[in-house]
Subunit: 358 residues, 2 copies
């Protein structure tokens, strides 16, 4: 239940290859993502609520360091207590410590059965509360995604659909047929206790694919609303218990903005995205998009969250790291960077803010 790949393979290509074996790699970020990039950014996706992130699904990797040495970070065993966790050090290092050349991935069995469900709510808070209650119920839900009414409107516009333009939760339950049904009923009950309505679910493979398409094409649906605009996609993550509050605070700001903004959350992880559409030729709009992004990052940090749930730091999020992690953590990172890349040749100018020194 593992596979060794080179970094340039896409996760979708990999899963096509694995399907005849009844196995899959359980991460589903954006469709173009490659395994190497997924490692470098410590990414995740909608399945993380059950299967974890890149952090949990890489057994070992090969990395070429700045001095040309090739390191294999671990054995093929699922568990090891053999020294420093170099695998996890490289995952999320965004190319600043080395170039990943090979990855051993942990695979999962394709679920025997699954049910996809959808439910409407009067407010985003109701939807968030149901996501949290589902997590607290002990059900190991496979996906729980939250879309706000603006996102649903975008989907209607893009696909010529007629979905109720209200906050919506989408679930996936997996397991045996009986257990998938049982989970569906449990969550239907939870939803009804939080003003949920129009709970629908699908079991037929084509019907499930159609239903889930709604979520998968959310970003492109946004562009359908404003075809010549760019999108600033925000990404923050907070403790589960703070998600409802984060979304409320953010919605107030987003709804009163002149820009069109949609909300998509991996609700079971407390991970929250906004798609902010702006005219790239209008400097005022670009600044407003940045202001909204800034607002949400600070709201998340105030709620003990992180400025980046799964998208990485790059250059754009360096400015938030000191507030999130503190200077001591950044100095520690810089020491490690200096030890492994003394000449600063590996993806310079990224990840560690330039003002950090030790």
């Amino acid at each position: 239940m593992d596979v060794v790949v080179e970094p340039g393979i896409g996760w979708m290509e990999l899963n096509e290859y694995l399907e005849p074996y009844g196995l899959f790699f359980p991460l589903d970020p954006g469709p173009g993502a490659t395994i190497g990039g997924m490692c470098a950014t410590r990414c995740s996706g909608s399945l993380a609520v059950r299967y974890g992130t890149m952090r949990e699904n890489v057994i070992n990797l090969k990395v070429v360091l700045a001095n040309g040495e090739v390191v294999k970070t671990g054995s093929r065993a699922r568990k090891s207590a053999a020294g420093y966790d170099l695998t996890r050090l490289i995952i999320g290092s965004e190319g600043t410590l080395g170039v990943i050349t090979e990855v051993t991935l942990r695979l999962q069995k394709i679920p025997e059965y699954s049910v996809v469900a959808m439910c409407n709510f009067p407010t985003v808070k109701d939807a968030a509360d149901v996501a949290i209650a589902t997590m607290m119920s002990g059900i190991q839900v496979s996906r729980v995604e939250l879309l706000d009414e603006v996102q649903v409107r975008a989907i209607n516009v893009a696909n010529g659909k007629n979905l109720p333009e209200v906050p919506t939760l989408m679930f996936e339950f997996i397991g045996t047929e009986a257990y998938s049904h049982e989970q569906t009923l449990i969550v239907q009950k939870i939803a009804s206790e939080h003003n949920g309505s129009d709970f629908v679910f699908a079991e037929d493979p084509e019907a499930k694919k159609e239903l889930w398409k709604i979520r998968k094409e959310a970003l492109w649906a946004c562009f359908a609303m404003e075809p010549n605009f760019e999108a600033m996609i925000t990404d923050v993550c907070v403790p589960l218990s703070r998600l409802a509050e984060l979304i409320s605070r953010s919605k107030k700001e987003l709804d009163s903005s002149s820009l069109v903004c949609t909300v998509i959350a991996h609700a079971g992880d407390g991970n929250f995205h906004t798609v902010v559409l702006f005219d790239p030729n209008d400097e005022k709009q670009r600044k407003e998009a940045e202001r909204l992004n800034h607002f949400m990052v600070h709201a998340a940090l105030d709620l003990e969250g992180t400025c980046t749930g799964e998208h990485g730091v790059g250059t754009g999020k360096m400015k938030y790291l000191e507030k999130e992690l503190g200077m001591e953590a950044l100095k520690t990172m810089k020491r490690i960077k200096a030890a492994l890349d003394p000449n600063g040749i590996m993806n310079p100018g990224k990840l560690i803010p330039p003002h950090v020194c030790f």
Copy 2:
């Protein structure tokens, strides 16, 4: 669903505290283990097959570095892509990089229902094959532990029981009542397809406790067989597909030894322990115990495994690290160690073999 603790609290004490909240910390190593030590050694236990190891269950931690600086390694969010994974760097560093002073742990809901099952097999290979088939079936088993016939004999001697002295698997299935039963039936069928017999299971809390006691007290049962002896407890881990072979190779060696040796495996992870009993006053026996340990580590390394699945490195396993990881990986660890502890004051002489230099 998280809790902040100081490192000296035992996991059992913590779980007593959490029980009224319906939550627990899902790692179960030896009974005396404290959270700090569990972090430092990257330990796990029988529940890792479902819930993961320390690696997966720590959200952040506070560590005091060699220079006195206090670092908090991350926010309270479940997922983060904010820079180097300092949390995972410290976990498993065995005190060589800093002193852990505070840990934020990820908690799970206490399962609604559970079933404990036990089954006998004619050979250890049959038992291992059933463990593997159970993992491959997609069931997220909560525990699957393998005991060999010598271990069962020890349990009989210690507890005055009359269990068949044959290779035995013990399972725990969790979820809703219906799903727990469903999993039990699926695995019963798998067991019967691999010469399994005497499949029994318990649902009543007291009966489950009694049944699981067999596994929990395995080590002390060994001492009952040889009350004045010491035990060398080995710990290796291999890819799941190599477990049956590792156990076969090891059993040949163990059975032909003059010493009493028992096998206990966290079979779902490929993690395999032997308890080798020896007279501490008999140098020949001590050397034989070491020889057996050495044999099993090398067998595991030959099967792409690790010399230490969950017990750490300390001094005893340093000699295997170069064969397992290669000199480049060890030099990388040394560089990190030198960067964070230039004066070598943090638990000197441990983890990184002394001959490694860069």
